[in-house]
Structures are given as C-alpha cells and as structure tokens.
C-alpha cells in the first residue's frame, strides 16, 4: 500500500530528490503537511495545487493505492 510523490522546482530542491515512494497516506493535505515538516518546504499548502496520475484533483480526493501524486507550486512558465 504505497504511493509515489513527484517533486518539482523549489520542492525538488528542498526534498533533494525528484520523487519518493511513501506509504499510502490518509489524505492529500495530511501527506503535504508531513512532507512539508520533513523537507522544510517554504510554500504553505494553500498556495499549491495537487495532481494525481497526471490530472489536477481536489485536495479532498482520497489518495489511491499506487497513485503518482504531485504537489504543484505556483507556476511560472511563459
């Protein structure tokens, strides 16, 4: 029962890895808060969007076994 978390931009720099596999969490907010505490992410959760398996999802979407989860910091393309 695990998920994969992808890190991008400042989150990847802070985590020091591009991805990691973690036990299936209770919720996406709980997952972000625990990772934020562990890696020292500067960005508060309300500044991020979250995606699961390559699609944006609501923060209250239940984490799926085996899913690829990505926290999306404010974007700066263009």
């Amino acid at each position: 029962m695990s998920i994969t978390v992808l890190y991008f931009a400042s989150l990847r720099d802070a985590a020091g890895v591009a991805s990691e596999t973690l036990p299936l969490p209770d919720s996406l907010p709980a997952l972000y808060e625990s990772l934020r505490a562990r890696h020292g992410f500067a960005l508060a959760r309300d500044r991020l969007r979250v995606a699961m398996d390559g699609e944006f999802v609501a923060w209250d979407t239940p984490p799926r076994e085996g899913a690829e989860v990505a926290f999306i910091p404010p974007v700066s393309g263009g």
């Binding site: 991008f8 931009a9 500044r47 974007v75 700066s76 393309g77 263009g78």
Partner: protein, 138 residues
C-alpha cells in the same frame, strides 16, 4: 492533431505558423516570449524551465481546446520550451488564425495568459550576482 507541445530544444517558428495558414483565415496573431536580460531590477544571465510534462501537455491541450470553443477562430497552437535557455532565446510561442483580427488577437492573448497561470512549468532564473531562484509568483 495536438495543439500544445513542449520542446526541450530550440525550435523554429515558421512551421508552427505554416500549420495555421488557411484560406478561411484573414488574420493571424502570434505571441512570443523571449528570455529577457532583466527581471525585477536584477540582471538575468539565463534560465531553466522545468515542466511536469504529462500534466503540462494535458493542461496545455485543454487551454487550446477551450480557446477554439471560446473565440471565433480557425485554429490555434502553442509551444513551450523546457531546459536551459540563454538571453534572447524563444521560451514560448502562441499563434491563432481567424477570419477577423479581433478574435485572433483576443484568443492569442487569452492563451498566453492561461498558459502562464495554469500549465505546470517553472522558471529557474540565474542572476548577475551569482544567485539563482525558482519563481513561484503569488
């Protein structure tokens, strides 16, 4: 045919424009973002774009499909660079063709605004002072 794409190498705008030519179109508006030598008063030496590719491509396609619905245009396309870019390099290209110029301009501007606010691409700038940072605009 895909309307949005990422490119990890420099690209030529001519074939992108060519694809939007149409006998029905009397107007074509395009936008290009180039790497500027300054940002917020600081000298910029270069930058790197990183994308969450799968999601960026899906979200980019959604934006272009929405543009075709929302504006009276013939077609539209967008290409965004990833990787290391030097000053003056092309970072993003948007084009829209339409019967008339109003919708061509409006669609082109709407697309670049949406791409900048919604597509998961991040800019890492290197400054003249030696420091560097990820841009996460609030």
């Amino acid at each position: 045919m895909k309307r949005f794409a990422l490119s990890d190498a420099a690209f030529d705008v001519a074939p992108l424009r060519q694809r939007l030519l149409s006998p029905r179109a009397g107007a074509f508006a395009s936008f290009e973002g180039w790497v500027r030598d300054h940002h917020g008063g600081r000298g910029v030496l270069g930058l790197r774009y990183e994308a969450y590719a799968a999601l960026a491509e899906a979200e980019g396609e959604r934006i272009l499909a929405e543009a075709v619905q929302r504006f009276d245009i013939v077609d539209a396309a967008c290409l965004h660079r990833t990787g290391e870019l030097a000053i003056g390099e092309l970072a993003v290209w948007v084009g829209a063709s339409a019967a008339h110029r109003g919708p061509a301009f409006d669609a082109c501007r709407w697309i670049i605004d949406e791409v900048k606010s919604r597509v998961p691409i991040w800019k890492h700038e290197r400054y003249a002072g030696g420091d560097a940072e990820w841009l996460h605009p609030s």
